[in-house]
Symmetry: C2
Subunit: 251 residues, 2 copies
DNA sequence: CAGTATCCGATGCGATACTG
DNA sequence: CAGTATCGCATCGGATACTG
């Protein structure tokens, strides 16, 4: 990618950050994701070779250090201070996107794997008391088929010892709470476009199982970190502004 | 450009903003630049056809409205609220770039036209009292040649009636203050990498002409809006961190 | 001044397969 | 699990010339 040829720091920053996928990788790295294959889960449409290249570039820029965990010997990518200081930028960018590009929830952007991965990362496993808690997710809009070795419509969230694990196959444990929903509804709830209560009332989300878990559902179900951002007030609606301007010019 | 396929607002924002040149255009649009050819000056390496395309895309996204000035009939591009709300993002991005990507001032990024354009945009023409004030810039590191119809090493900044004009040809007015400098020094001063006083003392900038203007030079010379951002403290220097970690591991 | 039309080249990137 | 190697296409974008 050719340089912008400008001393302006906005240009310099853009040269690094405007590379395809780079901001999404930083989003995940700042979220504490460190393993190659975990990073892959966050950008499923990115090829592994390109991911590898991007990580090398980030390392070259000094935003990532590749370290080997002395215990497990596993490779890990850690965000450096240079990357960590992008947090406000990325947060604001997300807030802006949520505010102004939220209007439509495009079908191409619905991704049940991504959603469940996000949920598993944000759920707080310590809210469930001691012992093990298993939540089963079932997407009623997906076929009840097994593909390879797992169901395409079922996920299990296993919480124990302060950790949460997302399982694609039946872990064999008893399920404490079943959640029945469809991908669009669950994604909208996750993004704050539908209140949890409304989804429960309308039947977009159904809960079966332990009463205590179901009753506290609204409390322990995590939402996207962007769920609470507000839409722009209607007074800033562009069509409105233009219409008003035209009416003013005419009158 | 293919979609990231993610409902995440960071991804959605990136799809729009990570297009090549787009952030730089928004930088200028938020800076109040509205005319096509003025926008061109801010991105001299961008082809006009691509600029045209990007402006259409911004319009499609609702970040720009193309309007015709009722008086002059000239075409203007105005930032919408959607674009204006990117200001904190772009400011933070610039601050981050200034902080972390400042180390080198690459020769390819030195651009005297860009620099003089920036200066002319940021200088406050009201600081010079009534009547007209003319500042002449002369870059001693450039050849004293005429190219086409203008000198390649000379610029004139004409301030009058609360406006400032950048001239490439000798406007014919008497010059109140001559500034002799070289591009690298002037750019470094502009970016806050050299204090004005230091440049004056070392002779990197020489002033000839009206005593009052020369004495107040430090006051009226504008600097880049990023000039005051701080470098990261040495404690965050990556090489230092790694060296310390290694020393710790060894010991 | 404010763009548009056309062309073509570089290369970014995706797909797939493969490896220690 | 953590990547690498290879291939080839699509397309982005730069250059140039032209227009009302």
């Amino acid at each position: 990618m050719k340089s912008y040829g400008q001393y302006c720091p906005v240009a310099r920053a853009s040269e690094i950050l405007s590379q395809r996928w780079t901001l999404l990788l930083l989003r995940d790295l700042l979220g504490g994701i460190r393993r190659f294959n975990d990073l892959r889960r966050g950008v499923p449409l990115m090829s592994p070779s390109l991911l590898s290249r991007r990580l090398k570039e980030l390392e070259k820029w000094g935003m990532v250090v590749r370290v080997r965990d002395p215990r497990s010997g596993a490779v890990e990518y850690h965000a450096t201070p240079m990357a960590l200081e992008l947090r406000p930028v990325i947060d604001l960018l997300g807030a802006w996107g949520q505010r102004w590009v939220r209007n439509r929830l495009i079908d191409d952007e619905l991704d049940v794997n991504l959603l469940m991965w996000d949920v598993s990362l944000r759920v707080d496993p310590n809210r469930f008391g001691p012992g093990q808690t298993v939540i089963g997710f079932e997407y009623t809009d997906r076929p009840r088929l097994k593909k390879d070795d797992w169901w395409v419509d079922k996920w299990w969230l296993v919480m124990a010892d302060g950790e949460s694990d997302l399982c694609l196959r039946d872990p064999g444990f008893e399920v404490d709470l079943h959640i029945l929903t469809d991908l669009r509804t669950m994604t909208k709830v996750w993004m704050g476009d539908i209140p949890v209560r409304a989804a429960l009332r309308s039947g977009g989300i159904e809960l079966l199982g332990a009463r205590a878990l179901a009753d506290s559902f609204e409390d322990w179900l995590p939402l996207s970190s962007h769920a609470l951002h507000e839409r722009p007030p209607d007074s800033l609606n562009l069509e409105r502004i233009l219409a008003a301007a035209q009416a003013g010019a005419a009158g």
